[in-house]
Symmetry: C2
Subunit: 213 residues, 2 copies
Amino acid sequence: MAAPEKKNGRERMLDRRKKIREAIRQAAIDEFAQKGLAGASTQSIAQRAGLTKPQLHYYISSKEELYEEVLVHINELWRDIFIASSGDSKDPAKVIRDYVRNKLEFGRRHPNASRVFSNEVAAGGHYLQKHWHSAREATRAAAEIIQSWVDKKLIKPVDPWLFQMHIWAVTQHYADYEAQIRFMLQLKDGEEIDMDHVVDEVSTLFLRACGLK
Amino acid sequence: MAAPEKKNGRERMLDRRKKIREAIRQAAIDEFAQKGLAGASTQSIAQRAGLTKPQLHYYISSKEELYEEVLVHINELWRDIFIASSGDSKDPAKVIRDYVRNKLEFGRRHPNASRVFSNEVAAGGHYLQKHWHSAREATRAAAEIIQSWVDKKLIKPVDPWLFQMHIWAVTQHYADYEAQIRFMLQLKDGEEIDMDHVVDEVSTLFLRACGLK
DNA sequence: AAGCAATCTGAGCAATCGGTCAAACTGTTT
DNA sequence: AAACAGTTTGACCGATTGCTCAGATTGCTT
């Protein structure tokens, strides 16, 4: 008899609660991604999560708070994919390539989360302000690394802050504006974007931009 | 007595109507930019335009139709700033630099219009589908020009479609995510983004990316 | 079987939503 | 001054918004 299988009532209850909260978060992400904070309805979120409206309100205290919780959750997911987190900072080309790939991959795996985040930032980021400092810290650390590359003449001179935001902009674009890309490339309904080609092209863009290719 | 000053009643009426419609469009752009289609309220649009709600509904037939009209209007504004429209297609560096500057300038002048457009594209662009063909045509024409540069070995090989979308992504980013940029660069409330520096940095990014710098 | 906390439910709250309508009010033309 | 199209108004429609609450129901512990 394995220990983790022996769950008493309390544990099962907490387990269930956790699953429901998870479902609510996912439902909220989908709804917020499509309608925005103002346009989202708790009714619709409840439906997506397979709950009734009063049931949903039993688990959350308000729409705004749910929105904030979702943003914090997405922000945490994000933290792992910053330039600074790419292991060996002595090989600029590898770091940039990895970062681009990771960010594109992330957007592909969490398109709605990506959209919620973008919309919030575009709207002014008021609900995020308390949590932005960690993002800025990561960006600052990466800026230092990039600057050190410039100083050592490993790469051509670039503005280390803007350089990062340009990578952010391009990679984010593939997550948030899939519709535009699909239309421009005239992809049929079943067809998928050739992500290997995209990773190639985007990597090349930024590698050339700092003289590495 | 100059002719255009001699306006009869009918002309004055049409004039007035035009101004009100213009005010409504601007109000709608601001509201849609902040709340999205679902979140925008006709009440609020009316208020922004200095009208009462029934008064607004006298001029528009529905919220959705107003939204569509706004999108078409923005789409028309946009048409002028496509790569293909930059005069001399024989000097790639000049064309790219001009395009980047124009697009950044446009975003700076019409930030809310820019945001409405972006949000709509991110949401799937369903309300735009009838009008996208013109954008795709312009992009296709530009893609041909870029490809011809590659063929003549004026620039390093790039995917002409993705290359354009990358420029779109970066320039759009400055219009739509001003909050992020302001926070990252730690700008105080009064401070303005140094757009000359941005134009420089973005131009350099794409010029280097095709071996022109 | 009784007790208990956690959960679920239907009914309903005030407020707002998009939109309508008849009646009053404009300013201009006869 | 009468007639007129164009415009504005307040009252109002049914539907939906975020959210609450008392009471019924559930599943676990004693």
